[in-house]
């Protein structure tokens, strides 16, 4: 039995809302000096008076204004599986993807990833307007985790997919927005990671583009890749995923087949409306 490709054990992430305001050097020094003088911390006091997080809030953290964006998340994903993650806004879906793709660190817990990871995120990340289409394909491909040799071998395919052959040596800043999007998506679509994270919130686009995205995801899944798919579209989850988990207030509240997950999610949201 091979080890699961993604293994998440009791992953938690704490966000400190009180610190958000204290981003300048002055604020920080002021607090430190007040502390030295033995005076109560102004920001803390405000925090205590206007407690934004209620004591009985299930997400309340150890400090008055801290919040568990994720708490004790555990699940595993087997190789080739497509896991859908559903949940309301603020349930922790994007935070989870951020931790798994190593953009930020968890506060507690651990995750083991056994494969090359890519995320299909806001396309065109890292494009440079002054560079030509050709240079941008390489730059963007490398940012997304490809090696130069890989891009070399897929270069013609990427160009054909995007349909911008004629403008390959034109700076990207002269492209129409449509050309830009096509080129950016072409690069992202030719990534060949073993694990792919897709956050739908991040990949907005018109209907055609979304259809193209979904078709591509379908193709990719047939090649045996592992995908974690975050979406508000129950339709997409139902057709693409093989399993689903529901996140609510930073916890996993349901884990099972994607159909059961959708049913459970819809039931819980109608319940809440009553």
């Amino acid at each position: 039995m091979p080890k699961p490709i993604i293994q998440v054990e009791k992953l938690s992430k704490l966000y400190d809302l009180g610190v958000v305001g204290a981003t300048t050097f002055r604020d920080s020094m002021e607090r430190r000096i007040l502390n030295l003088l033995g005076q109560p911390d102004k920001t803390r006091k405000i925090g205590l008076k206007h407690r934004t997080i209620a004591l009985d809030d299930p997400q309340a953290g150890p400090d008055p204004n801290s919040i568990w964006a994720l708490k004790d998340i555990s699940f595993t994903v087997e190789r080739g599986e497509i896991l859908g993650i559903i949940g309301r806004n603020g349930a922790g879906k994007s935070t989870l993807l951020k931790i798994l793709s190593r953009i930020t660190e968890p506060t507690e817990g651990k995750a083991v990833i056994r494969g090359r990871v890519s995320s299909l995120l806001e396309i065109g990340t890292g494009f440079h307007p002054e560079l030509t289409g050709r240079d941008n394909i390489y730059l963007n491909g490398c940012i997304l985790g490809m090696r130069k040799l890989e891009i070399d071998s897929k270069f013609d395919e990427i160009v054909a997919f995007s349909g911008i052959e004629k403008f390959l040596d034109t700076p990207v800043k002269r492209y129409s927005s449509g050309m830009f999007v096509r080129l950016a998506f072409a690069v992202a679509a030719h990534l060949e990671p073993e694990i792919l994270f897709i956050d739908e919130v991040l990949s907005v686009g018109d209907f055609d583009f979304q259809q193209k995205c979904l078709r591509k995801i379908g193709e990719v899944s047939k090649e045996g890749r592992t995908i974690i798919f975050v979406s508000h579209s129950m339709n997409a989850i139902e057709t693409i995923c093989s399993r689903g988990i529901i996140l609510s207030q930073g916890r996993v509240v349901f884990e099972g087949s994607q159909l059961d997950a959708i049913r459970c999610y819809i039931a819980s949201s109608t319940e809440n409306k009553k």
């Binding site: 930020t104 990833i113 056994r114 990340t125 560079l131 730059l139 940012i143 130069k148 700076p171």
Partner: protein, 287 residues
């Protein structure tokens, strides 16, 4: 999927990894990205400028001209008996590389926040790219400087004073020292600016002040004993003076100063690496 490949890619996500945990494997994996970022930085710098790459040569010459007129001709600051143009060009050669790297690396986290918030690659890649792409500008400036030395040595009366010597062989080490010193300070500032944006505004003053504290527009030999200590503790002073000594044969070259400067550089670089490495892991939550 063979097991070898599996082992290659396995990584563990955990909080509070040790201060000394570095993603060396990632750095080597992303070396192609480094190459393309260097290429981007170098090529896009003077795009859409009529004179294009000539700016690499014009900007040091323009600064030298200003220094020669103001400090050399008007105020008449001594230049160790060298033609002022050579004296300033040499000091600026070292100093400009230092400042370019410092400015480029010090805002790594903030200016790349949009990228770092969306995709993972080793966060050290952009600062390393800055140091490398500026190295190419340095080489161009070095060539210009050598042309000037050649001219002054063989076509003017100053020929006998200009004595390039074997210290030139130290040059690669000195350049590496400038690179890691500026990167070390840049990493410190970058880690701090992730939280305290104020430092960005202080950078202009800092670099200006530092230039006056470094013997760029005056020779270290002019500094009185009382102030000598500032020349010693500033790691850039010995580097600039060593540059002058190597190319022109004038300047304050002392092994103890150079050694101190090298040790200070290493301490700054290694501590900067640690602080940056620590800040980089969660900075996206506070930026």
């Amino acid at each position: 999927m063979d097991t070898h490949k599996e082992r290659d890619y396995e990584f563990i996500i955990q909080p509070n990894k040790s201060w000394f945990y570095f993603d060396w494997k990632g750095l080597s994996y992303y070396r192609d990205l480094l190459f393309f970022i260097v290429k981007r930085d170098f090529y896009s710098k003077y795009k859409q400028a009529v004179l294009g790459p000539f700016w690499f040569i014009i900007s040091p010459l323009a600064t030298t001209l200003v220094f020669t007129v103001v400090f050399g001709n008007m105020i008449k600051i001594p230049t160790d008996g060298m033609p002022p143009v050579l004296f300033y060009l040499c000091g600026l050669l070292a100093w400009r590389y230092f400042v370019a790297c410092l400015n480029g690396t010090s805002d790594t986290l903030v200016s790349n926040a949009h990228l770092f918030g969306k995709v993972y690659f080793p966060r050290l890649i952009p600062p390393i790219a800055v140091v490398i792409s500026n190295f190419f500008s340095f080489i161009l400036e070095l060539i210009v400087f050598l042309v000037f030395i050649f001219y002054f040595k063989f076509f003017t009366l100053a020929d006998s004073k200009i004595q390039p010597n074997f210290i030139i062989f130290l040059l690669p080490l000195l350049v590496i020292q400038i690179a890691i010193l500026s990167m070390g300070i840049g990493l410190w500032i970058s880690a701090l600016t992730a939280k305290y944006r104020d430092l960005i505004f202080l950078m202009g003053f800092l670099t200006q002040l530092w230039m006056y504290a470094t013997p760029v527009i005056y020779p270290a030999s002019m500094v009185s004993q009382k102030w000598r200590i500032f020349i010693v503790v500033n790691p850039m002073s010995s580097v600039v003076e060593a540059f002058r000594y190597a190319f022109l044969g004038v300047g304050l070259l002392r092994v103890d100063y150079l050694l101190f400067s090298a040790v200070a550089t290493l301490v700054i670089f290694l501590s900067g690496l640690l602080v940056f490495n620590k800040a980089e892991k969660t900075f996206i939550d506070t930026v």
